[in-house]
């Protein structure tokens, strides 16, 4: 029986010829990433709950401070110090202030064919390069750190056959929200979302990351693309070689198949408090906002900043609206500086922040107050996700968010242009 890309990666990691959905395997992990959201808990367990603990292979570990950076109170400062000291003691790669963990991982570590565990739900992003990344809790992370292995239940794969090309002014962000709106917030629970077809080839690596990153918002274990020429080119530009390039077999078995015509996708927004509560932007246009956020591991890359800057150039952020612009990594930030984008945002009255998770994770910076409304390129719009339980989060593309920042209310970019 044929296998999908995800099944091939698991089979290789388990050291077996083939796997099928439902099997439980012990797998060797290629890499483990943890951030300041939970690393201090892992360190506590490592030190206090295990006798003579030992890290299997420190070279496989990456620690990234990105959630509250720079630290915003003595408690986070203490937990970050714990993480920093532990990384130093154990010669673990350590990044701080260099970007949101998934963007840092994509720029510096991820290789096609790898099986990567991250103590963060959006680890599924790495499928953009044909890797199997998945989010786990700190106990799973601890187990992987100590043994170099973990267990996986082989998930079924769902095929998303993409055809056509996204129209001008419509983005991968609109596409993934459209997909989640259609299949639901648990539409692919414990499954793999494999994006394929001619339409998939038209998408950039950044677009692919947008899709894979939000696979978890449909409940998926991961999202994945075949590593094609574009992926290999990205890898080469970043000085890396693939571990293995897998393609799904023609006779691979899929749990379901969907077809999405990219040319029919329109700008959409996800309304509070669920990511699958998706409507055309027109339906929520005119709703006054207090804050707009352009950033996150989903939508804070140079491509997204270009969209925002092009739109806001020569215009101003609306009176009494905060427009937060947060590049996803230092690399993105410096590129934006070079291209003059940061100047455009500042000229328009945006607040440009250092690379970090920012308001997408509802702590550290940009948190919204009682009854306030945020339009965001972040990953989630759960109740209270960005601050006060009564506040509301709408999700949209970089274009929709920037247009809304200019209008002071939810707006279509087409109307601003």
């Amino acid at each position: 029986m044929g296998m999908t890309i995800a099944e091939k990666i698991i089979a290789a990691a388990a050291g077996v010829d083939s796997v099928k959905p439902g099997d439980i395997h012990t797998v060797e992990l290629d890499r483990l990433m943890s951030n300041d959201g939970t690393t201090h808990l892992t360190v506590d367990m490592y030190r206090n709950k295990l006798k003579h603990p030992h890290i299997k292979d420190t070279k496989k570990l990456v620690f990234i401070v990105d959630h509250n950076v720079p630290s915003d109170n003595p408690k986070t400062a203490a937990s970050q110090k714990k993480m920093r000291d532990f990384a130093k003691e154990n010669q673990i790669d350590f990044w701080e202030g260099k970007g949101v963990c998934h963007q840092v991982m994509m720029e510096n570590y991820v290789r096609p064919g790898e099986l990567i565990f991250g103590a963060d739900s959006h680890t599924c992003s790495y499928g953009a390069l044909g890797a199997f990344g998945t989010g786990v809790g700190c106990t799973d992370f601890l187990y992987g750190m100590v043994t170099g292995t973990s267990w996986v239940l082989v998930p079924e794969t769902v095929k998303f056959n993409l055809i056509g090309r996204l129209p001008e002014g419509v983005y991968a962000r609109d596409l993934i929200l459209t997909i989640i709106g259609e299949i639901g917030a648990n539409g692919c629970n414990y499954q793999v979302m494999e994006f394929t077809g001619e339409g998939a080839k038209t998408l950039s690596i950044s677009d692919r990351m947008v899709l894979c990153n939000m696979a978890v918002e449909a409940g998926a274990k991961t999202g994945i693309f075949e590593a094609d020429e574009k992926a290999l080119e990205y890898l080469k530009e970043h000085g890396r070689e693939p571990k293995a390039v897998y393609k799904s077999d023609p006779d691979a078995v899929y749990a379901r198949e969907y077809t999405f015509d990219l040319s029919k996708v329109r700008p959409v927004a996800a309304k509070p408090d669920f990511v699958d509560n998706v409507v055309p932007v027109e339906e929520v246009a005119g709703l006054p906002i207090d804050e707009a956020f352009l950033g996150s591991c989903n939508n804070g890359r140079i491509e997204d900043l270009r969209v925002g800057a092009e739109l806001i150039k020569g215009r101003k952020v609306a009176d009494k609206v905060r427009f937060l612009v947060v590049p996803a990594s230092l690399t993105v930030y410096r590129q934006a500086l070079k291209e003059g984008l940061i100047d455009i945002f500042m000229e328009a009255g945006a607040i440009v922040m250092n690379p970090n998770c920012s308001v997408c994770w509802g702590s550290c910076q940009g948190v919204i107050g009682e009854n306030e409304v945020l339009i965001s390129t972040g990953t989630r719009n759960f109740k209270g996700r960005a601050g006060h339980p009564s506040s509301k989060v709408y999700l949209g593309s970089a274009a929709t968010v920037t247009a809304s920042a200019i209008a002071g209310k939810i707006a279509l970019a087409g109307e601003i242009r």
């Binding site: 006798k51 799973d140 209270g384």
Partner: protein
Amino acid sequence: METSFTGRIWVLGDDIDTDIIIPTEYLALKTIDDMKQYGFSPLRPELAGEIRKGDIIVAGKNFGCGSSREQAPEIIKALGIQCVIAKSFARIFFRNSINNGLLLIEQPELHDHVKEGDEVTVVMNQHVDHNGKQYPIASLPENLMDILRAGGLVKAMRKLNGLD
């Protein structure tokens, strides 16, 4: 782990996410015991104070969706909840719960027939009983049961290593 147990139930809806189970702003608190009073606070601020040891949560689909924060199952366990019965669970939450020794049971129909304050009886690996009706439940794979019986993954590791 008991082969059967009875508990009073709290009924929650669909898509109970990890930001509802424990909002980000309380994650900086030092211990799970400090955090647990804020469990479910965006949805029902009074709930954490009213849950008693041995209670059971019955919820709709996609319970635990969202972030990988392991404080979510830890808080539910610390509040004294002995198991969560839902139509379905989000996968990271599922793993985290097993790893922390919190029992989760999938049952697609029960939620539609119960009201808060009712009692249900769980007969492990067989069925959940409510008002004289039996709702069938699947049994967990043996390797996951081993983790649960040990009280979580770390404890299971200690057992494997002969430390306990």
